[in-house]
């Protein structure tokens, strides 16, 4: 079977949807954060596939930027989640109820 752009895009959409589902359904901050990374990587896959099939390199360059920025985001994000965990002894979103009306 020939694997074309359509197949790559389908996988990428599936990954994105799975990530989104994880963000919405899961209750643990770390798992939510992993799902967010999955969504970013779905975008990376789409960019690389488009790059390959359109014979243009801009998309692959953007992928490098996304990987770098995601690394920065993770380092800040994990530090934040750890700081919260130290204070609350929990990484569950149900416990984030200090800010409301």
């Amino acid at each position: 079977m020939h694997v074309g752009l359509e197949q790559y895009l389908t996988v990428s959409f599936l990954l994105f949807a799975l990530g989104l589902l994880g963000v919405i359904m899961r209750r643990n901050l770390l798992v939510i954060y992993m799902s967010l990374e999955l969504m970013l990587n779905a975008a990376n896959l789409a960019l690389v596939a488009f790059s390959r099939f359109n014979n243009k390199l801009d998309g692959q360059v953007l992928v490098f930027f996304i990987i770098t920025v995601a690394a920065a985001e993770v380092s800040v994000g994990l530090a934040l989640i750890v700081a919260l965990y130290r204070r609350r002894q929990s990484a569950h979103v149900e416990d984030l109820t200090g800010l409301k009306l």
Binding site: L36, N54, L62, L80, A83, L99, L101
Partner: protein, 483 residues
């Protein structure tokens, strides 16, 4: 290659690094820390005068990815003034920021660098990187008081929703680039009309809106705003309210009117609905609020809605109204947060009732807060009135020149929103002057810097409201030159 256009950004990044390293090399006493903040403000002031004067160079660099036009210059001036005011405010707030106020200053300056790049971005790579530079810096700024649980909680909420919206944005960029084949806004404008019925392209545009809508806190991406405004340290909230929102707007204007004008022209109804919902949501939810910062969070949603009026008008006068409104909003919001920071710094709550008797405790702060609320409500002669007038004028003009009746409904919704907002803005003023239970009437000690900042904000509000010509001419030049 024309890297000299980027001098301003390079200087700002260098200033941020120096500020961060200063902690290692100086034995820093509180006086020296304040001195370093003033030094940073002075450097930003010099950069403003030297590099953003009337004869600032224009052009493009990096194959059209970085553009310096009149709109970029308008927003860069705006961002530098915002950063100067926020640095001033942070230097007054330093008691409440344990563990290194200097890093706090340098993070503000790095966020400023992101905003400056955002003002000049003409390419999706640039858009993505600058927006992330702003957002990641704000994750740290929002959760900076890490001994306070609320600050951490606000930071985590901002982190999750921010990362979610940037994932949407990146996926949108991937789809747009995959179909249209170009990342550059100017080139995209030429090919976009071919893709008006391409579903993948339009999905990409919607996903991109999710990312930008998050930055400006427009419905349906506004959920984070009240929580984050309430939990963040007050100077960070002020910078979030003016800087980050304006960065979202400059990118929104660039994307809608430089990159995909063909799609924008078709989607007027969509913009009208988003604007109307944002105005109604912000104003209605602000009504029952007692926490002052949370109230301003909802009010900032409604102001994003007002500014979307100018975007929905899809005209150059609408864009110039947005820019004028942002300029007035800057001084108004910083004034409000200055008062909140000074009055509530040592209290354990930020309830509206803490303002009781403020007119006896500190007449200057009471005046500042009153003027700020009056300007937010949009009463002449302050900045907020003329801005709202221009936005509504742009919408009505567009309603007259197109057969779309949505514009009249939008005008009506906006007026209703403004009327509703009188209730909660005047609730704050009533708490200052006519509160019955005034327990604490001790005068509030004000440093010279705090007085200066309050007077500066009052002067800004009056100047933009009574003499609108200077700012309006700049905004018009930016909007019409940009067309």
């Amino acid at each position: 290659m024309n890297a000299s256009l980027m001098f301003l950004e390079i200087w700002v990044v260098a200033l941020g690094i120096v500020m961060m390293l200063a902690d290692f090399f100086f034995c820093v006493t509180p006086e020296r820390k304040r001195f370093l903040a003033y030094l940073g403000i002075a450097v930003l002031g010099v950069l403003f005068l030297e590099l953003l004067g009337p004869d600032a160079p224009t052009g493009t660099a990096f194959h059209g990815a970085f553009v310096e036009d009149s709109m970029a210059i308008f927003f860069k001036r705006f961002f530098i003034i915002a950063a100067i005011l926020v640095l001033f405010l942070s230097s007054e707030f330093s008691d409440s920021v344990p563990g290194g106020i200097l890093e706090f200053y340098s993070l503000i300056i790095f966020a400023l660098a992101g905003m400056l790049f955002a003002a000049s971005s003409n390419d999706f790579v640039m858009l993505f990187v600058s927006i992330e530079l702003i957002t990641v810096t704000f994750y740290v700024l929002v959760s900076y008081q890490r001994a306070r649980l609320l600050s951490l909680e606000a930071g985590v909420k901002y982190l999750i929703i921010g990362a979610l919206s940037s994932a949407f944005m990146v996926f949108g960029i991937a789809l747009i680039w995959g179909t249209a084949g170009t990342m550059n806004f100017t080139e995209l404008a030429q090919v976009a009309p071919q893709f008006l019925d391409n579903k993948i392209f339009l999905t990409g545009v919607i996903f991109l809106f999710a990312g930008l809508g998050f930055k400006i806190a427009a419905v349906p991406f506004q959920i984070w705003a009240p929580d984050v405004y309430q939990g963040a340290p007050t100077p960070a909230t002020a910078f979030l309210a003016v800087g980050s929102k304006a960065a979202g707007f400059v990118l929104l204007l660039r994307v809608l009117f430089t990159a995909i004008p063909a799609v924008t022209a078709r989607w007027a109804d969509f913009l009208i609905i988003v604007s109307a919902l944002t105005i109604l949501y912000g104003n209605l939810c602000a009504l029952p609020q007692r926490n002052l910062k949370r109230l301003l969070g909802y009010s900032s949603i409604s102001h994003a809605g007002y500014m979307l009026l100018g975007v929905a008008a899809i005209s150059a006068s609408g864009q110039s109204a947005v820019m004028y409104y942002l300029a007035g909003y800057l001084f108004t919001v910083v004034a409000a947060f200055t008062v909140i920071a000074l009055v509530m710094q040592h209290l354990d709550h930020e309830d509206v009732s803490a303002l009781a008797g403020l007119n006896q405790r500190s007449p200057l702060l009471a005046t500042t807060m009153t003027l700020s609320m009056v300007s937010l409500a949009g009463i002449p002669p302050l900045a907020g009135f003329f801005g709202k007038f221009l936005l509504l004028k742009a919408v009505i003009e567009q309603g007259l020149s197109t057969p779309n009746h949505g514009y009249y409904c939008l005008t009506f919704v906006a007026l209703a929103g403004i009327l509703i907002s009188f209730y909660y803005y005047f609730g704050v003023i009533r708490a200052i002057y006519w509160s019955k239970d005034t327990r604490d009437l001790s005068p509030i000690p004000l440093s010279g810097g705090a007085k200066f900042l309050a007077l500066l904000c009052i002067a800004g509000m009056f100047w933009i409201g009574i003499f609108p010509n200077t700012v309006l001419n700049l905004a018009n030049a930016a909007a019409f030159g940009f067309k």
